[in-house]
Structures are given as C-alpha cells and as structure tokens.
Symmetry: C2
Subunit: 414 residues, 2 copies
C-alpha cells in the first residue's frame, strides 16, 4: 500500500474509533492543541519563514505572501479559534426526529459525523487548524491537503495538533496532512471513495472546477460567488445607495460581496448619478450595459462575459432591467446561487424575489455580505456552500454531520 492509501485507511479507522469518544475528550483534544500551538510558536514562525522565502523566490504576489504569513497575531487567532470551537455545542448524537410505527418499531433519527472528510485548500496555513478543529469537534476524521507553498508551515501546525489529539487519548490519525503536495496525489485523493466520505475544496474557481471534473468522492462546492444587488423602482433611495455601494466595497475579495448591480429602469435616472459618484470615490471600476451608458457615457462597456464574472475586486458590472421579473431572470441566468439582495419598499415585490430567485441566501433591504457563519450565529464556518445537496449557504458544525436511523424492535419481521 502506498503512503496516501495507508493514510486514508488510518483516517477511516480513526473515524470509526471517534464515534465511541466522549464530548469531553474531543474538547480536551481541541484545548490541548491550543496549548501545543502556543508551545510551538518558535518552530511555527521559523518553518513559515522558510516557506515564505521559497515563495518569494518563485516571484509570487504580495497578496499571496500575505495569506501565507504566520505571525504571533495569526497564531493567537488560531489558538482562540480552537478554544472557541471547544466551547460550541456538540452537533453529534442529537435526536433530530423520533416516531413509533403502528407495528411497534421505535425509530429515532440521530445526528452522526460524516466520517472522513478531505479538504483541499490553497496556501493559507491557518486553514489547517481552523478546518481540522471543526471536523474534530463534529466527530469527523479529516485529511488535509494544503498548497505546496505552505507545506512546512502546515506540517509544523499539524504536528502540534496531533500531539494535542494524542494526549487527549483520541486516535491520532483523526487529523492528518497529505505531505506529498503533487497534483497527482491531489487527484488520487479525489477518487478514494473507499476511504473518504466527503471532499470539500476551499479555494478559487480553478480548484473547484478541477474537483468537479475529477472527483468521484461526493463533494461540497463552496465559495463561488457572483452576487447581485437589485435596486427596485420603489425603494428608499438612500438605503439603496448605501447597500449597493457597501456590498461592493466593504471587502471586495470575498465571495459574498456583490459583483453586479441591477437597477430598475424606473429609478435609473435618479439612482445612477449619486451611486456612480460614490463608487468612483471608492475607486470602483464600473462596467455598464448600453442603457447604463446612456446615463453615464464615461463608464466602460460591459460584455456578455462580465455578467458571469466573479471579479473579487473593485470592479462592478451594472445593468438596467425592466422591473423585478427581469432582475430575477438575470440572476437565475448568471448567478452562482450564493447571495442576492433586493432593495424595495414593497413586501410583495420582495417576497416574489425571495421566492423565485434560486440562491442560498436572499436579502430584502440588507447587504449580501452577511452570508457568513459568524454573522448567522453558527459560531464558525468551514465554507459557504453554493450547491443544493446536503447544505446551502454558511456551513457550520451541524452541516458537517449526517444522520442515521436507530430503530428498536421486539422481534418484528416483514
């Protein structure tokens, strides 16, 4: 057996052993890991420095280096993350439903771990600890495969966490890192159906597309966000301006920020000048449809590709539409089923929009930026699902579980 299969088989055994582990032991493992991280600060920072030096030599961007960097503040934040996950309610072993059938069978639907979760992510070493903590708390074994540029950082973090896990008496292989960061190994990981229950890719569109194309393991797709703000003809103009601008500029790099602004033609003449002035001030590049350019000839022309683009940047595509039906049609054509907002005074129009738009989270008079595990009160999140099976929107601990039916009988046969 080669290294990957050996590792996956160990994770599978650890997952089964985890189902007999107490809540307290899992929490102890998380708190131990926090302490081990604290003790390993020096090692973490020096291994990370080697990763950073190698990445610099390859000529990566400053943003890349920024994501790769671990310092005392980031280590503190990982430690705090472990402690706060330990404090969250345990999502496993809850009775979700129960009923007794006429033949006397007593059926209980009980939440259980998914089993073995594999997570493929890019060179952000803090994900190693954050993701492992959520998987462990929800009773899952996890196999992490991070980006090659973070391998030394990830390895030292994982070693600390495994010490914490082992000292709590948990099977050490319930958390592990794939040390071979080749593409071939990542692709093999996507096909280990015998050992892996769920694969969660965390990263950009190209990673997610590779996973969709290659994975045979069930996957949860996260984070693809072409989100829209639709400004209806009947709206509070100031509220619409605030939301339309803020949803773009408050943090353009994240998936819940808006990429396209849809404006009801009834309000275009009043809305566009004020809105574009604020966007310009914030340094936003505007790409408008032909009708938008009649009001603002100074903006760039949007092409068909713009409507499907996740810029993750200070770029906004803007389109004038003929009322809510056209807005719904546009969103259902170009959206990625993530987060959508309507600004309107009409409850009837808002409900139509919320009902007919196909997305995980649909806001009436609020920014799309609230689609987030923390903002929803989930305590933590592993990602934002924009698929429909299993979980939609922010995924917290509960979304890392499945269920089983536990049935008690008295000799019934059929």
């Amino acid at each position: 057996m080669d290294a990957l299969i050996t590792q996956a088989a160990k994770a599978r055994r650890a997952a089964i052993a985890l189902s007999a582990v107490s809540r307290e032991a899992k929490n102890t493992a998380l708190l131990n890991s926090a302490r081990e991280l604290d003790l390993a600060r020096e090692d973490i920072i020096s291994e990370n420095a080697i990763d950073i030096a190698a990445a610099r030599e390859k000529g990566v961007s400053q943003a890349f280096i920024e994501r790769l960097t671990l310092n005392d503040a980031r280590i503190d934040s990982m430690i705090e993350g472990l402690k706060s996950v330990a404090r969250l309610d345990d999502p496993v072993g809850l009775t979700l439903d129960s009923f007794t059938r006429p033949n006397g069978l007593a059926i209980r639907k009980v939440s259980t771990p998914l089993g073995v979760i594999a997570i493929i992510f890019e060179s952000r070493p803090n994900v190693t600890i954050d993701a492992a903590a959520l998987c462990l708390k929800s009773g899952n074994a996890v196999i992490l495969r991070g980006g090659s540029d973070a391998i030394r950082s990830n390895a030292v973090l994982m070693n600390a966490m495994r010490r914490g896990v082992e000292r709590a008496g948990l099977p050490v292989d319930c958390v592990s890192l794939v040390e071979d960061t080749s593409r071939e190994t990542a692709q093999r990981l996507m096909r280990l159906n015998e050992y892996i229950d769920v694969l969660i890719p965390r990263g950009g569109k190209s990673l997610i597309n590779t996973v969709i194309k290659n994975a045979t393991v069930p996957t949860i797709q996260t984070g693809d966000g072409v989100c829209h703000v639709y400004v209806d003809g009947e709206c509070d103009l100031e509220m619409a301006l605030t939301i339309a601008v803020s949803a773009k500029i408050s943090r353009p790099s994240v998936c819940n920020s808006a990429e396209t602004l849809l404006i009801d033609q009834k309000i275009a003449a009043r809305f566009i000048p004020a809105c574009f002035e604020r966007l310009k001030l914030a340094g936003v590049e505007i790409r408008g449809c032909e009708k938008v350019r009649e009001y603002a000839p100074y903006v760039l022309s949007a092409t068909d590709e713009d409507w499907a683009m996740e810029y993750n940047d200070l770029i906004y595509s803007v389109k004038i539409v003929d009322g809510v039906n056209a807005a719904i049609e546009h969103i259902n054509t170009y959206g990625t089923r993530h987060s959508e907002a309507i600004i309107t005074r009409s409850e009837q129009v808002a409900r139509k929009f919320q009902n007919m738009v196909d997305a995980a989270a649909i806001y009436w008079n609020a920014s799309t930026r609230f689609t987030d595990g923390g903002e929803f009160g989930f305590g933590a999140e592993i990602g934002i699902s924009n698929q429909k099976l299993h979980a939609r929107g922010p995924m917290g601990l509960k979304e890392l579980t499945t269920y089983k039916y536990v049935i008690d009988g008295a000799g019934q046969v059929r």
Copy 2:
C-alpha cells in the same frame, strides 16, 4: 442547440416557473395525470406490447419481461400512486428554522425544491410515473431517462402525464423523457451541470458505478445493499432464528434483505443447526466461513468476495465472529452503509452496535427489511440512499427538497 440541451434548458425554465405555482395547482396536475392515464389505457397496453415483443426477440430473461410488463393492475397502481402523492403534505415552503440576529436581521430557513432532477433508471416503466409524481409534488422539474427496452411504454406514459400537467396550467416541461436512449446521451446527461441540480440513478450496481465514474452533476446513490444480521450470544434464540431467516427469504431481490449472517461464537453451537435447517427448507444456499463449516460441514465455503456480495437471491453468507466488536468491524469493512440488525437481550450491546456501525438504519431486534419509505411512514419513496451527504436511508418528499435562507433587513450593511 441539440435536443438534449434544449430539453434540459426547458426543464430549467420550468423549474423556476414551478416555484411560483400553488400547492393546489401541483395537486391538480397529479390528479389530471391520473385521469389521463386512465383514458390512455388502450394505448399504454398496446405500446407496451410492442416493447415486450422486441425485448422477447432479444432473448431477455422472464424476470426482465415481468418488470417491463404493464397491465390493467399496474396502470391502476400508477393511478393510485398519483392520487396518493397528491394527498401527501407539501414539503415546500416550510419554515425549518428562524432566528433574529443582534443586528436585527430576521433569518428564516425555508424548504425549497432542489430544481431540476434527472433520474436514470432501467426498464421498469412504472418508475416513469412514480418518480415524476414525487418530483412534481416537491416542486422539482424532472428529466427521466429510462431503459431503451421500455422506450415506447415510457413515451406513452409521459405523454399522458404531460397532458395532465399542461391542463393544470403548469409548465409542461416540468416533466419530460429523454427519447434518445443511447449510452452517449445518458453520459452527457450526467455532465449537464448547468441545467441539472441532482442526478439519481435507480438500478443495479453497474449503473451506479457508471454514474459515480462519469457524473459531474451532484448525485444521490441509492440501493446498494449488503445488509447484515448479527446474532449476539445473549439473545432470544427463537427471535434470532425468525429474524435471521426472514431477513433473507421474505424478498431476496430487494436491497434491504440480508446478505450476510454474523453469529457470535458463544451461541454458534445452539444457533446453527436450527437456523440452517430452516434456511435449507426455504431453499437458501449457505456459504460459510471455516468455523461455520466445523458445525455444518455440508455447506459451501465462503470466499473473501462473498463478504462484499449483494446476492439479491436465496444465497446467504454466514460467518462466526467473536462478539459484537468483531461484528461491528466486519460490517464497517464489508457493508454498504444501508441496513444492519443486531439480535440481543443486552441494551448496552445493542447501543454500542447502533452507535458504532456506520449505516443508514440500524435495527435492534428487528429485520433489516423495514428500511423503506412506506414502512417509515414517508408515504412514498424515490429510493434508499446509501450515501451520507444530503439524505440517508429512505428518501421521501422531504429528501427531494433543499432550503434557502430568506433574510429581511432594514438597511443593514457590513
């Protein structure tokens, strides 16, 4: 655009339109379809006769012909199915959870249809109506791709249903049949991520494996059942005999019937003679491990492959194990996470088994044969999931839905 993409795009549009359709209209469509089937009896039976004649000419088995055959009783059963699905509670539009955040955002989690469901199934034309009814009731558009040998039967059934749907004012393309039954078209269907939200294969292992290997659309795997009965040392012997035998013989062709009998060595000497006598009387072929053959040298030897085999037939593999831990280990190694049973007097042993066995349904002192939508009280079922994402075990109407978060604000930004 070719025929398949045109059809899928129409289904996608129909799915969006369905989200604005009332419960009454969906029920009317189901009842209309029942009436149209009744009116089309003659056509259905004559088209089915052509399919049967062609299949006979190909030399298919009698069991195949039996599944392919439509007669008045089967048409009655489809009509009754449509009426009973119309009577079930609507699973869409329910508030599953609601909470208000400190910033005033009011968040509701609401059940919604999945969207467009594709179902690939074998030559059982009654599935056309049964599956379409469940999808329609749960607000989903459905694209059905049945086996080529049933194409004329499926087409005449689908035409009747589409008349019923259209006369209720629903978009006719919310139910449709892929008329090109080539493998290439089926494989393309598995990759139409732009139009299809979920793919459900209904059929044997080779269909399911083809889907796992080729699909890029999210799938729900159903019906793969290597189920076990474990007879613990401390049990009611007569109850154990009844369940162990019945779980095999009551309907061996279905996925929830038992394939392997595990016997605690503490009870083997008492249990095996009585059990094997009953199994022999019922015509069951027994394949035992070496220890079993010490008690019953007249049975065949089980090979390693036997432990992973879904016989769907009057064949039973039998193994002696050293207590509940060994039983759990065996099941977690060879089982398909479908249905498992333990027969024991000890609640402690039963709970350990139910906790540590990884399966959709785990029975204490009852047969595995109860894993079924009807037996669970779900009213109807589209299949039995043996994957862990989204839905596990019997899938009724609720399991054909997802959810969205509907959020009402008052101008909040972040």
